[in-house]
């Protein structure tokens, strides 16, 4: 395989990969990424590494989810039914 072509494909792969992992790639981009993952070990390694980072971030954020204070909705409803304070 021509080195320059290979380099260009790798660069393109790295640019398209985030959209692919975020589910935003076009059909054409999806096909390109799938082909590169199958044919290029470097691209496969990049794919696994980037997917891993994204998975770690997603899992971590899901674990960090906290419940809102129990009185939050009540506090909002209370404020909604109060007249806005008049300027002094």
């Amino acid at each position: 395989m021509d080195v320059n072509t290979d380099l260009t494909d790798r660069q393109l792969f790295k640019r398209v990969l985030p959209s692919y992992l975020d589910g935003e790639a076009t059909e054409h981009e999806k096909a390109f990424v799938a082909r590169q993952i199958n044919q290029c070990k470097f691209c496969q390694s990049i794919y696994e590494s980037e997917k891993c980072v994204q998975d770690i971030i997603r899992k971590s954020l899901a674990k960090q989810r906290i419940a809102p204070p129990a009185d939050l909705l009540f506090a909002i409803q209370q404020r909604l039914h109060q007249p806005y304070p008049l300027p002094v």
Partner: protein, 191 residues
């Protein structure tokens, strides 16, 4: 019908309860990840919902209520809450871009983050690394990887082009990856 008369009082309450209240949990978590303070998050969410109700006539039923709400929340944070927090308003994107050049295909992956032992070990470190991100980068990571907004929705919420959403996400993940790799390496998990 004029915009100011779009909903009756009963319709306002119904729209508010049906369209916005179900996102209270998500809104609170977004607010908390922006402020990193439970009291500030609570205040920010209350302000957001008050504004959502006040401006409910500009909301079109059947459109994306969650994105509309998050946009109000983000603007409230920028206009009122960030001032209090004395955080830097912007990131030096050029500097970050120079450090994290996306086309550097020869980068060397010295630490394999794929093993489960590494992932378990870096649990708290991920939280710290996310919380330490500059606010503009943290915001896109939360919207994308916690709340599953699309690029287009994020662009609308943040009032930025889709290209900027992409580049912020890419840079945010690059920063996180490097900081996690450094940490794993420091803890002796280098390949």
């Amino acid at each position: 019908m004029a915009e100011s008369e779009k909903y009756t009082e009963a319709q306002k309450n119904e729209t508010f309860n049906k369209e916005f209240v179900p996102y209270l949990d998500s809104a609170y978590n977004f607010a908390y990840k922006l402020t990193l303070d439970e009291d500030e998050a609570k205040d920010l969410v209350q302000d957001t919902y008050m504004k959502a109700f006040r401006f409910i006539n500009s909301f079109e039923r059947g459109t994306n209520a969650k994105a509309w709400l998050f946009k109000i929340l983000k603007n409230s944070f920028i206009n009122e809450f960030r001032r209090r927090q004395k955080q830097p308003a912007t990131v030096d994107y050029q500097e970050v871009e120079q450090v994290y050049n996306s086309d550097d295909v020869d980068e060397d992956y010295t630490v394999d983050l794929r093993s489960e032992s590494v992932q378990d070990m870096i649990g708290d470190e991920v939280t710290n690394a996310i919380n330490a991100l500059p606010i503009d980068f943290r915001t896109v990571i939360i919207l994308c990887d916690l709340e599953d907004f699309t690029y287009e929705e994020m662009a609308k919420i943040l009032d930025i082009p889709i290209g900027t959403v992409r580049s912020r996400l890419h840079r945010a993940r690059s920063i996180l990856k490097i900081s996690l790799q450094h940490y794993a390496q420091k803890m002796g998990y280098a390949k």
